[in-house]
C-alpha cells in the first residue's frame, strides 16, 4: 500500500550500444522528472496535478518525443497529441494535431475540465488553447536538429521510422510498409494510496508520419487509461496499441480475470506483436509494472516504501 509513480520516455529498439551522449540526457530527464513527481506526491498534491506536472517536464525536455523535441511529420512539421485520465471519476481529456501549444498535456486537462467534450483536435484545439490563454510558441520552437536529421534519414529510407533505431524492413501487422516501434512518447501514471489514480501521455507521434495521423496516445483505452483498478500509459507502435486496446485491457484483465497488476500488464504486452508495445502502470494499492516487448524502454518508478529505479533495458 502507499503511493506509487511510474513514468516512461518511450519504448523501442533502443540499441544496447546507444552512445552516452544520447543515453545520458534521457536518463537525467527521467531522474529529474521522477524526483518532481515524488516530491509532488509527498506534498499531497492531487493525483491529476502529479501526472500533469511530470508530463509537462517531460514535454519540456527536448530529448523526448513530446512537446519540444517532438518528431516531425512527412511535411517537416510537428503535430502533438496528449491525453489525461482520472481513475476515480474516469474523467478524461485528449488533444491531437497541436502545433503551437507548449504543453499539450495541460491543454488536454483543460479540455477535460472546461468543456463538455473529451477530445479536441487540430485547428479547433489550437483555437481553444488560445481562448484559454495557454502558453503557445512559434512552431519552430518544438523542432530540434536531431529530429530534422531523423526525418531526413527516414525519408531516405522511405520508411516511417521511430526514434532510437535505424530504419529497417520489419513489417507491421497491418501489412503496411515498414514500421519500427516508436520510442520517445512520454507518460506518467501515479497512485496516491488513497484510491486516487491518474494517467497522462504525450507525444509527437511517428517520424515521417502522414500529416493528420493520430496514434494511440490520445485514444482512451489504447495509449492512456485509468479507472479504480489501475492507471496505464503505453508507448510503442501506435497502430498496434490501438488495435490491442492495450491500456484498457490491463485494467480489464485485472477486473475480469482477477490478475494482479504485474500479471495483467505482462499478459497484455506479451500478447501484442513483438517489438511494438511497452507500458507503465500502477494499481490502487501501489503496485508498479513496467513491461515491454521491445529491446528497451526508458523508464523510472518509485514507491512509498523507498524503492526507486531509472532504467532502459533489463
Amino acid at each position: 500500500m502507499g503511493w506509487a509513480i511510474a513514468l516512461h520516455g518511450g519504448a523501442g529498439d533502443i540499441p544496447l550500444s546507444l552512445p552516452p551522449e544520447r543515453r545520458e540526457p534521457r536518463e537525467a530527464g527521467l531522474r529529474h522528472c521522477l524526483d518532481i513527481g515524488v516530491a509532488a506526491l509527498k506534498a499531497g498534491r492531487p493525483i491529476l496535478d502529479v501526472v500533469e506536472l511530470v508530463v509537462r517536464e517531460l514535454e519540456n525536455w527536448p530529448y523526448f518525443n513530446a512537446g519540444r523535441g517532438s518528431v516531425l511529420t512527412t511535411d517537416g512539421t510537428v503535430e502533438m497529441e496528449a491525453c489525461i485520465m482520472d481513475g476515480a471519476t474516469m474523467d478524461c481529456g485528449a488533444v491531437s494535431g497541436l502545433t503551437t501549444v507548449v504543453n499539450p498535456i495541460s491543454l488536454a486537462r483543460v479540455v477535460m475540465e472546461k468543456t463538455p467534450h473529451i477530445y479536441l483536435g487540430f485547428e479547433g484545439a489550437e483555437a481553444f488553447a488560445k481562448e484559454q490563454g495557454l502558453e503557445t510558441a512559434d512552431p519552430s520552437h518544438f523542432i530540434t536538429p536531431e529530429n530534422v536529421e531523423r526525418l531526413k534519414q527516414a525519408k531516405e529510407a522511405k520508411a516511417v521510422q521511430v526514434d532510437y533505431t535505424e530504419p529497417s524492413n520489419a513489417e507491421i501487422e497491418n501489412g503496411g510498409p515498414l514500421m519500427e516501434s516508436s520510442g520517445g512518447t512520454v507518460g506518467c501514471v501515479a497512485a496516491d494510496g488513497l484510491g486516487g489514480l491518474a494517467a497522462a501521455t504525450s507525444t509527437g507521434g511517428l517520424v515521417n508520419k502522414m500529416a493528420g495521423r493520430i496514434g494511440d496516445t490520445p485514444v482512451i483505452g489504447a495509449g492512456t487509461y485509468a479507472n479504480s483498478f489501475c492507471a496505464v500509459s503505453a508507448t510503442g507502435i501506435g497502430e498496434a496499441i490501438i488495435r490491442g486496446t492495450v491500456a484498457r485491457d490491463v485494467a480489464a484483465v485485472m477486473e475480469f480475470r482477477g490478475l494482479s497488476l504485474k500479471e495483467a500488464a505482462a499478459f497484455v504486452v506479451e500478447r501484442g506483436p513483438k517489438r511494438t508495445t511497452g507500458l507503465v502502470a500502477v494499481s490502487a494499492d501501489g503496485e508498479v509494472a513496467m513491461p515491454y516487448n521491445t529491446i528497451g524502454m526508458f523508464r523510472a518508478c518509485a514507491t512509498q516504501d523507498g524503492y526507486s529505479e531509472v532504467s532502459i533495458w533489463n
Binding site: 491531437s96 473529451i118 487540430f122 502522414m210 485514444v219 482512451i220 483505452g221 486496446t245 480489464a252
Partner: protein
C-alpha cells in the same frame, strides 16, 4: 464527419475525423486501413489523403440539411427546448426538467444549458458476422449538434464507438463522451473474452453498468452468429436480420 471500421479476424482498423468534403467517410476510413501505414487520419491530412486516393468529394453544403440548420439555431439559443423529434425524449425535454437538471448538477454533462443527451444525433453503424464467423463493425457520424469545432467523439475511436475481434463486433451510438469514458465497444468484447459472458449478457452488463449518467446504445453480433442490442435511453433506431430468416426493425423497446 468521422467514422471508423474494424475487421474482426485480424483486428485491423481504420478511422477518420474532421472530414468536410468526403462523401462517404466510412469508405475513407477503410482506405486508411487498407492503403496507408496508419490507423487514424484526421482533418486536413485526412482530406488530402482522400484526394490522393481519388474518393468522391463534394462541396461542404452537400451535407447540410435545412432541418439541421434549424436545429443548430435552436441549440444556440440558451435554455431553448431542443430535441430530436425522431426519438422523443419525454421528461428531459421540458424547460423545467432542464432547469432542475442544471441546478441539481447530478453529474449530468451540460452544454448550453441543456443536458448533453439532447444534442446526440443519430450516429449510424453496422455490425456483421458471416457464415464463417468473421465479424466486422463500422460507425459513422457528424457528431454532436453545436459541438465545439475540432471536437472528436466516440465514433472514430477504436474500443469506444467501434470494435471487432474474433468474438464479436460492436457499434455504438449516443453521447460520445459517455461511450469514450466507458470504452463501450471494447468492454462488450472484453467481458466475453475475459469473463466468458455471452453476447447478450455482455451487452446488458455494459449498458447497465458502464454508462452512469450517459445515454447510449449499441448493436453487436458474435462470432457464433448471435445478434444483440441494448440502450439506456428512450429508443434506438435499429434493424437486424439473421440467416435463419429472423428480421426486425425497431425504435423503442
Amino acid at each position: 464527419m468521422e467514422a471508423s471500421i474494424m475487421d474482426g479476424p485480424r483486428r485491423r482498423c481504420g478511422a477518420v475525423s474532421g472530414l468536410t468534403t468526403v462523401k462517404n467517410p466510412i469508405s475513407l476510413a477503410r482506405l486508411v486501413m487498407d492503403r496507408s501505414p496508419h490507423s487514424y487520419l484526421a482533418f486536413d491530412g485526412a482530406e488530402e489523403f482522400a484526394r490522393e486516393q481519388g474518393v468522391e468529394v463534394v462541396d461542404n453544403d452537400y451535407f447540410i440539411t435545412e432541418e439541421n440548420v434549424g436545429m443548430l439555431k435552436l441549440a444556440k439559443e440558451a435554455n431553448t427546448i431542443l430535441f430530436d423529434y425522431r426519438v422523443p425524449l419525454a421528461e428531459t425535454c421540458s424547460k423545467a426538467a432542464a432547469a432542475a437538471a442544471a441546478e441539481d448538477g447530478g453529474g449530468l454533462q451540460m452544454m448550453n444549458g441543456l443536458p448533453l443527451s439532447v444534442y446526440a444525433q443519430e450516429t449510424v453503424g453496422c455490425v456483421v458476422v458471416d457464415s464463417q464467423g468473421r465479424c466486422a463493425a463500422a460507425t459513422s457520424t457528424g457528431g454532436l449538434m453545436n459541438k465545439k469545432s475540432g471536437r472528436i467523439g466516440d465514433s472514430p475511436i477504436i474500443g469506444a464507438g467501434t470494435y471487432a475481434c474474433g468474438a464479436c463486433a460492436v457499434s455504438c451510438t449516443g453521447e460520445g463522451e459517455a461511450i469514450l469514458r466507458g470504452t463501450l465497444a471494447r468492454d462488450v468484447a472484453a467481458l466475453m473474452e475475459y469473463k466468458g459472458l455471452s453476447l447478450q449478457e455482455a451487452v446488458d452488463f455494459v449498458i447497465k453498468e458502464r454508462l452512469d449518467e450517459g445515454m447510449a446504445g449499441l448493436i453487436a453480433v458474435s462470432g457464433t452468429g448471435d445478434v444483440a442490442y441494448g440502450f439506456n435511453c428512450t429508443g434506438m433506431f435499429r434493424g437486424c436480420a439473421s440467416s435463419d430468416g429472423f428480421l426486425d426493425v425497431g425504435i423503442w423497446n
